[in-house]
């Protein structure tokens, strides 16, 4: 039967698709401009070996069952050269107000002239990872690519192999940042029109008792067509520190977005990772938060709003490694037309992590009969005195809700939009920074008013 051989062929194809990247890695690692300390060269090489071994994942692998990455594997993407500032108003892409430190990256490369990093408090580092590697190597070395981020995900391994630049944040002990920090990643087309790949690598480190609010956003200039963002963000939240992060994915319509976020939290720390997906043709985001100190609290929220044939896949893992930690996970997805969402929520409670309190909710609103959402909780509990709950919903807009709003004079379209907005705003309410919330509120409203014709 041909069916028996076809998967092997695909597996072989996806493994072979790694070769151009292995080849490019030789150029990259021999390139003087990419010269970095020895420890990083070793970590890059180890990661490339891992990626070369696995190649691109196939949908036969459980973790990739619902997401077919062949469109990425079959295209040849070129590493983006340092770009000049694109001819756009960066302000238009900023999430949040003007009162923020802004680090802008174009095609993965830091662009100081577009950034605004004046007046940082003493000891605080905000900016480019590449620049920081020279001066702050001793801060970076203990954290960057040290965790097993690359072990489980070929895309994270590929990113690690090509670590060069990305957002860097360091907040020293006891310091609270008075303004939000925004790392903005803009995609712009290459001069020759070849599809580009960027590997943004972000590292956020908060020391004991530090506090910060961070936005990580991805967007494209209007002329950017097919490209691929392959990002990794590592987050280290020290003892008693508080970090709020907002991640906003607004990639171009033909873009691919693969990403891994890995957070480690110390004792009594607070970390919220709130993630929004509006863009991209295909998006996959793995989030792994480790509650690695007693009494730590993690919030992991997400909102996806998709239409057309967009696809978003969230794989989240909340790892309770120590006792008395709490985690709150709330993911909402809105899927219109032929779009598709996947949510895989894993909660691991390690032996000894007693008094764990973990709550996971995934709600999916289907605005079209052709839209689809899959939700899968995975509980792995190795302690006996814990509270773990999970729940998921899936369905269209409730007719009784619709009638209630119509009975107040709203048209069907207005009522549907308002109900969809309400569904989305459950996640918006979790955004503490008012200017960021206002900005996201506008993005949601724009999404609701720019409904494209069905089947587009």
């Amino acid at each position: 039967m041909s069916g028996a051989t076809a998967p092997q062929t695909v597996a072989a194809e996806l493994k072979a698709a790694a070769e151009p990247y292995v080849e490019d890695f030789r150029t990259f690692s021999g390139n003087g401009a990419a010269a970095v300390p020895g420890w990083l060269r070793e970590r890059r090489s180890a990661a490339m070996t891992r990626f070369a071994d696995t190649g691109f994942p196939t949908s036969r692998q459980e973790e990739w069952r619902f997401t077919d990455v062949k469109p990425i594997a079959r295209q040849t993407f070129h590493r983006a050269a340092a770009a000049s500032a694109p001819d756009v108003a960066v302000r238009d892409y900023v999430v949040g107000g003007t009162d923020q430190w802004l680090a802008v990256f174009v095609n993965g490369h830091f662009v100081p002239t577009l950034s605004d990093l004046g007046g940082l408090p003493a000891g605080v580092k905000v900016g480019s990872l590449r620049h920081a590697l020279d001066a702050d190597g001793s801060i970076i070395e203990p954290h960057l690519a040290r965790r097993a981020v690359a072990a489980h995900n070929p895309f994270a391994a590929l990113n690690t192999a090509f670590i060069l630049d990305g957002g860097f944040l360091y907040v020293p002990r006891g310091t609270a940042l008075p303004r939000t920090v925004h790392y903005l990643f803009l995609a712009a087309p290459s001069g020759d029109g070849a599809p580009l790949v960027t590997h943004p690598r972000n590292l956020f480190v908060l020391e004991h008792g530090a506090q910060a609010s961070v936005i990580e956003s991805y967007a494209a200039v209007p002329s950017a067509a097919e490209y691929w963002t392959n990002a990794v963000t590592e987050v280290v939240v020290g003892e008693n520190a508080t970090l709020d992060t907002y991640r906003v994915q607004r990639e171009g319509a033909e873009a691919y977005h693969t990403a891994t976020t890995h957070a480690v939290q110390g004792r009594s720390s607070n970390c919220s990772l709130i993630t929004f997906s509006f863009g991209g043709a295909l998006s996959r985001h793995d989030i792994h938060a480790v509650l690695d100190g007693e009494g730590a609290d993690a919030t992991l929220d997400g909102l996806s709003m998709l239409r057309g044939k967009q696809h978003v896949d969230y794989h989240t893992t909340l790892e309770h490694a120590q006792p008395n930690c709490t985690s709150w996970e709330y993911f909402n997805g809105v899927f219109d037309e032929r779009s598709r969402g996947i949510f895989n929520g894993r909660i691991i409670v390690r032996p000894g992590a007693q008094k764990t309190d973990a709550k996971q909710t995934n709600n999916n609103l289907l605005l079209s009969e052709h839209a689809r959402a899959d939700s899968q909780p995975q509980l792995e509990i190795y302690a006996d005195d814990v509270k773990c709950t999970h729940g998921a919903t899936l369905g269209p807009i409730d007719d009784e809700h619709l009638f209630y709003l119509q009975s107040r004079g709203l048209s069907t379209d207005e009522a549907r939009a308002l109900l969809t907005y309400g569904f989305g705003s459950e996640i918006l309410h979790a955004v503490k920074a008012v200017d960021v919330r206002r900005s996201l509120d506008r993005i949601v409203h724009d999404w609701l008013t720019r409904r494209t014709p069905a089947g587009a």
Binding site: D398, D399, E400, H401, F403, Y404, L405, Q406, S407, R408, G409, L410, S411, T412, E414, A415, L418, L419, Y421, G422, F423, G424, S425, E426, L428, H429
Partner: protein
């Protein structure tokens, strides 16, 4: 204002209304009473245009317009309001935001400029002052996590803000303690005017002690079996529904 003639209809193929006649003139308050299953709520839902209910015969006009030919939202914008027996919770949307959208939907249709958030805040403040209620409900999500009494108050706030010409109250008094019934009744009395009519659908005569109706109708078996004034409601209180419904069964 509202002329209902020989209205028949029901849900899921089951006919519940079997020829209802009702005539409501501007400024009048009508009470529709009746035991469980008599068709009171079905009448309210059909008049408001619930798409799940089916009209199988008869007619209903509102200010001369064919009510049954209009969608629920068109009826609302034309000045009809239904206070729900069981208002649904809309998570993530505040009452203020919802009501502003509803007020503006009505204004848009009349060619009036839409109210911005500040103008709407003034409007809602004035309406609450008229009711003598505070604004705690306004900033909460629509009916989400509200008590039964709060939900009913919320319906009245909507009524007061949207200022319909005809308000149908579907068992707004059910499940409320006497203080809450009085509060709702007081609000209705404040909203009564020569132009605005009310249809109060109720199982109990209790609310009618505070809102004196011009007409009282008793519904049984999907028909109006008796009409009268406040005295009829008092008779029902004293004697229950059996003497009427038994009569229907016999007749």
């Amino acid at each position: 204002m509202l002329e209902v003639k020989q209205l028949r209809g029901g849900i899921e193929g089951k006919e519940i209304l079997k020829g209802i006649d009702l005539s409501v003139k501007p400024g009048e308050v009508h009470a529709i009473m009746g035991p469980n299953g008599s068709g009171k709520s079905t009448l309210a839902q059909i008049l408001a245009g619930h798409p799940g209910y089916e009209v199988t015969g008869g007619s209903a006009t509102f200010d001369g317009q064919d009510l049954l030919g209009m969608e629920a939202d068109e009826r609302a914008r034309a000045g009809l309001f239904l206070a729900f027996q069981y208002p649904v919770a809309i998570r993530g949307v505040t009452n203020a935001y919802f009501l502003q959208s509803a007020v503006n939907a009505k204004r848009k249709e009349r060619g009036l400029e839409e109210l911005d958030t500040l103008e709407f805040a003034d409007l809602i403040e004035a309406r609450l002052a008229m009711l003598g209620w505070d604004d705690t409900l306004i900033h909460r999500a629509v009916n989400d996590g509200l008590s039964g009494g709060e939900k009913k108050r919320n319906e009245i706030i909507q009524l007061a803000t949207l200022e319909p010409r005809l308000a149908i109250l579907d068992e707004t008094d059910s499940g409320l303690d006497i203080d809450a019934v009085q509060a709702v009744a007081e609000a209705v009395n404040k909203l009564r005017s020569a132009e605005r009519s009310f249809v109060i659908v109720t199982h109990y005569e209790r609310i009618l002690k505070y809102v004196t109706p011009d007409h009282v109708h008793v519904l049984a078996g999907g028909k109006v079996v008796m009409s009268g004034d406040m005295q009829l409601a008092l008779d029902l209180e004293a004697r229950g529904y059996d003497w009427i419904t038994n009569g229907v069964a016999v007749g």
